[in-house]
Symmetry: C2
Subunit: 457 residues, 2 copies
């Protein structure tokens, strides 16, 4: 493994060029117009993984976007690591806020700027290159499988079925994922918990057509005003979510555990400064880290209605819309929460409007124990390449499929993320530092080595 | 005047064709891309009015869109009627809700469908054709001036200065305007009052960039949630506006006057049915007619922020926006209200966000006495052509420049509107019934005749 640094140094420009080729295909899973790009990306990955040394690779059709599966079986008696990642990316709007084109990657100030630079093309590609290294230097210590999907950003609606249909093919001892972040460039961490998600869209209809706000203003319910009133009522003055039974399944974390978590380094002043905010804003009685790690939340992700162009238009619109999502903690069920939300939203609608609530997608939270061979293998890998022990953290984000992997395949996942908060994933100017990209390629082979050794014991 | 019906019958197709030519020029005053169309429309009108019989007509530049002025002076000793109208129109979005193209007028079920069909191209053009009739049949009883502007839909920002600069040219005894509605096809009415307007845009900024709602949700103020909370707080549970001093200058209407107003025909069930709403929604303690006629209101005309495309995007946006307008009653001052709004909105902003408030435009309300020669002339004109006396009503809409005419030119206006509520002005599928268009042309010459006779007394 001591040759990995040299291997990276010798191939660093090629690794980057290859990643750029992958990024250039605009694989936005939520937009129908990119359907062909999804196939293109899957095929591109397949060719890359075969070139890196896989025995076989295939692009599998699903009811949605395809899954790229590949494997290298060196000995059926050895452990098998299943690498999971996703080649789909988030939409790019608002486009005008990007400093360079989202699908024309470029390096500025030591960072790769592009949609997918981190999430998840950059991170999954580290695995392809780490795999190439182990193959080319004859150091692959176990079997490897790759399952790279194209629907993570829309909630992996078809991967569950793919896992059910291909249980035997996907048989493995552990699932390895790089789709999360670490605390800082010099503070490695392992994601030991994820939040779940329930993502809803609501439509509020007032009058049956747009009205002149002078001729009707003050006499007819304005669906935007009503929507604001309804959204406002979803949280109280302590920022508790007011949906009945919302907190029913939340497991309160013990004071002892909270004290342990509080040891993770966190500077509130630096956090506020980085976001240019004067104050944070969260549920009363919890710290910022706790808001993200152990408490559910509710956010409006989008709102629209009426006239949004230049200048003034005096209209009362017929309809107003919002996308509202809730992050859930382990043991909250996303289907149940979606139902509670829908029921509550319909119940609080005043008679002067009609409402329609649609669940767009959801997923469950996840907790990873820290006393397993995979956790220890990851821990030791970071310790070797970063020179310090990684910190276990509960992330506020969601990877809904992780909980499903455990249910369907009976296998635990280990989340070795190399992203940084400043990577601006899902936002304009998404980026991924070259340091993190190469450090990931360097760290992954140690995980394989450590894992096989620990499993042997 | 008894020949007017015949004249209309003989020329009805030509009148329609000419109106269609006027409508086809997309003169949207609020959109910069239509700047040239504003000149085209003004020039087109000038040619039409000269052809109808004006002595002279000119297109005057302003700091914004041009004003078309024309006149026919038959005798300086006779009274002068100044016809005011506007050739600019509202934007057309949402375009997908139109059943035909907004600038390709067509007649369906006896109605002209197009942007501007009623507001105000259809209504102003009635004056051009009524003028043509009086000229061609040698029945024009007084001097006529036309002032047709191109900025009414954006608050007439430059007409005030035009009036100041051209006071002598615009000298007149009364201003005649058709830019309002009547109660129903068979219930003529005269607008005796108008509401004022204060139109604001607000911007709420949370974090300095869009954030991933998983990694930040629950810990950072979401500007959409905060905007909803702030908008919600602008009205209380009785739908009173909560801005301090907002009602300070509102003149309470006496019980006697309210009882008089309540005599105007109004069927709440039919009103609700026409809008497909189960309940109306307005300030507690007032009827629907009163909400529109004698009470100020507050409406969100547009709201936007975050992800508004197809599917789900888990983002906390950096910014959220709304356009918020208030309709004012006479004696409320729009500048004062704009200031009160801005001060209040800034005061209620929580520390976790920054807010920016911009006043987009404003205008004052207006009350017309019913005992003047112009009111009586209009009253008798409707009585002649509709066979029944018109009802004086207070409209909920605003024509801010009407109050300014009185201040600058010292002349009262008379509002002879022929539009219907179902005309959907400012909305998709704006329309204007042929009946109203032709009835307007028929009624206007009687106003001229009556007015000159009453002034002579």
């Amino acid at each position: 493994m001591d040759t990995v640094k040299n291997y990276i140094e010798e191939n660093k420009q090629r690794f980057l060029d290859e990643l750029f080729d992958l990024i250039r295909i605009p694989s936005i899973s939520s937009e129908d117009s990119h359907k062909d790009d999804m196939y293109k990306t899957a095929e591109h990955l397949k060719a890359g993984i075969l070139a890196a040394g896989a025995d076989k690779a295939n692009v599998y059709d699903t009811a949605g976007h395809p899954v790229m599966y590949a494997e290298k079986i060196i000995n059926p008696d050895l452990p098998t690591v299943l690498v999971y990642g996703h080649y789909d990316v988030q939409p790019v709007d608002p486009l005008e806020l990007w400093d360079s084109k989202p699908f024309e990657p470029e390096v500025r100030d030591g960072k790769i700027y592009a949609r997918g630079a981190d999430d998840d093309k950059g991170q999954l590609f580290m695995h392809v290159k780490a795999f190439e290294y182990m193959i080319k230097t004859d150091q692959l210590p176990c079997n490897v499988k790759f399952m790279i999907e194209g629907e993570e950003e829309i909630g992996s609606p078809n991967l569950k079925q793919f896992c059910i249909d291909n249980k035997e093919m996907l048989k493995s001892d552990v699932i390895l994922v790089s789709d999360t972040g670490m605390i800082a460039k010099d503070i490695p961490s392992i994601t030991a918990g994820l939040r779940g998600l329930a993502y809803m869209e609501v439509e509020v209809t007032g009058p049956n057509r747009d009205l002149h706000s002078g001729l009707y203003g003050g006499a007819v319910a304005n669906p935007i005003n009503i929507l604001c009133e309804m959204i406002n009522s979803l949280t109280d003055e302590n920022n508790h979510v007011t949906i009945p039974e919302f907190y029913g399944d939340v497991i309160e974390v013990s004071d002892e555990e909270r004290a342990e978590m509080a040891k993770a380094p966190f500077c509130l002043e630096a956090y506020k400064k980085a976001l240019d905010i004067s104050e944070v804003h969260g549920e009363a009685g919890y710290t910022t880290s706790e808001h993200l790690g152990i408490r559910p939340s509710l956010d409006v992700n989008g709102i629209w209605g009426g006239y949004t162009g230049e200048g003034a238009k005096t209209v009362i619109p017929s309809k107003a819309y919002a996308k509202i999502s809730m992050r859930l903690v382990p043991n909250q069920n996303s289907d149940k929460i979606s139902e509670l939300f829908a029921k509550h939203f319909e119940a609080i609608a005043p008679k002067c409007v009609k409402v329609k609530v649609t669940a767009l997608h959801g997923g469950e939270g996840y907790v990873s124990p820290t006393d397993t061979p995979e956790y220890q293998a990851a821990h030791n890998a970071y310790a070797t390449t970063f020179g310090k022990a990684p910190i276990p953290v509960r992330s506020g984000g969601s990877i809904p499929i992780i909980a499903e992997f455990e249910q369907i395949l009976g296998v635990k996942s280990i989340l070795m993320g190399f992203g940084l908060e400043s990577d601006a994933i899902h936002a304009p100017n998404e980026n991924y530092p070259l340091f993190n990209f190469y450090k990931g390629i360097e760290t992954i082979p140690y995980f394989f080595k450590n894992y096989v050794e620990l499993k042997r014991k």
